[in-house]
Amino acid sequence: MASLKDLRNRIASVKATQKITKAMQMVAAAKLRRAQEAAEAARPYAERMEAVLANLATAFEGRDDAPRLLAGTGGNRVHLLLVATAERGLCGGFNTSIARLARERARALIAEGKTVKIVCVGKKGFDVLKRDLGQHIVKTFELRSVRQIGFGNAEEIGAYIRDQFADGGFDVCTLFYAQFKSVISQIPTAQQLIPATFEASEADKVAYEYEPEEGEILADLLPRNISVQIFRALLENVAGEMGAKMTAMDNATRNAGEMIDKLTITYNRQRQAQITKELIEIISGAEAL
C-alpha cells in the first residue's frame, strides 16, 4: 500500500501534468483559429484553379497532344505516394490515421506487383512508415522549423515531384493528407495528383477565348496546380493537426482531473484510517492502565 507521502507526490505530479496539457490545449486552440483562417483563405484559389483546369481538360480529353501531367505516362507501374503528416505528435490519432491509409494503399500496390515509392512530408509520418516500409521511402521533407507554411514550401515539394515525373521516376502520384472537416473530425484522404483528374461541372462551360492557346495555358497551369494542391493539403493538415491536438489535450486534461479526484479520495481515506488507528492505540493504551 502506498504511503501518504507517495500519494501526495503522485497527486502533485498529476496536477503538474494537467497544467501542461491544459496549456497545450489552449495553445492549440489559438493556433487552430489561425490555421483555419489560412486554410479558408487558400480555398478560393484552389477551387478557381480546379474549375478552370477542369474546363480546359475537357477540351483535351482523348486527344493525343494532351500534356503528360494530364494524360499520364500511359504506364501504371511505379506509384509515388506523397504522405503529408504533422511534424509533432501529441495529437491523438491524427498522424497514424493518415499513415495507416498510406500504408494500406502501399501494401495493396505491392501485392499487385507494382513498385512503390514514398515521399514523406512531416517527421511523424516518416517515423510511422519507416518501420515496415522503410526501404520504399525515397525522400523526406521536414517542415519542422517552418512557423507559418507559405506557398514557397509547397512549391519546393511540387518542384521535386515535377522533376521526378519529368525524369520518368514514376507513373502515378497520389497525395495523402487529412481533410479538415471540423475540430473533432479530420478525414484521411487520398488524392491523385498525376495524372490529374478533374470533375467537370457542366455549369461553367463557356466558350472562352484563350491567350496564349489552350495547350500552352494548360501546360503552364498543370505544374502550378500540383503546388497549389499540395499547398492546400498542407494547410488543411495544419488545421487538422491543431484540431486533433486540441481534442486530445482536452481529453488528457479531463483524465488528469479524474485521476486527481480518485487519488485525493484514496489519500483522504488513508489519512482517516491512520487517525483512527492512532486513536485506537491511544485509547487501548489508556484502558490498559
Binding site: 506557398f151 472562352y208 484563350y210 496564349p212 495555358i217
Partner: protein, 135 residues
Amino acid sequence: MAEPFQFELVSPARLLVSGEVLEVVVPGSEGQFGVLKGHAPFMSTIRPGILKVSRANGSVEEYFVRGGFADAAPTGLTVLAEQAVPVGDLDAEMIAQQIRDAEEDVADAKDDEMKQKAETVLSQLREVEMAIKAA
C-alpha cells in the same frame, strides 16, 4: 461612363481584392489588356507586372502580380496570381532578390527553350523594377 463589375484578385495565401470595380488593367503574357464590364469570355496567363484596379470612387490601386492567370467570365473577372502584393508594400529588395533568382535560372537552364523562358521572366522583372524606381 464605365459600369462597375465584380473583380477578384486571389493569391494562394489570401483573397486580396473582392468587390466592384470600373476597370482592371492586367499584364497578360501576350500584352497588357484592360477589362471593362461585359468583356467577352477570355482567359490569359499573366507575366510579372503591375495590375491596375480603378475603383468606382475614382481611386486607383496597383498590385504587383507574378505567375498565374486572368479569367474574364460573364460573372466578372478573376485574377489568380501565385504572388500578389500591393505596390505600396513592395520593396526594392524583394524585386532585386527575384531578379537574382531569375538570373540564376538563366544560368542553370538546361536547354534553349528553358533558357529563353527564364530570360523572358528576367527581362519582365527588370521592367517592373524600373517602373517602381520611376514611381
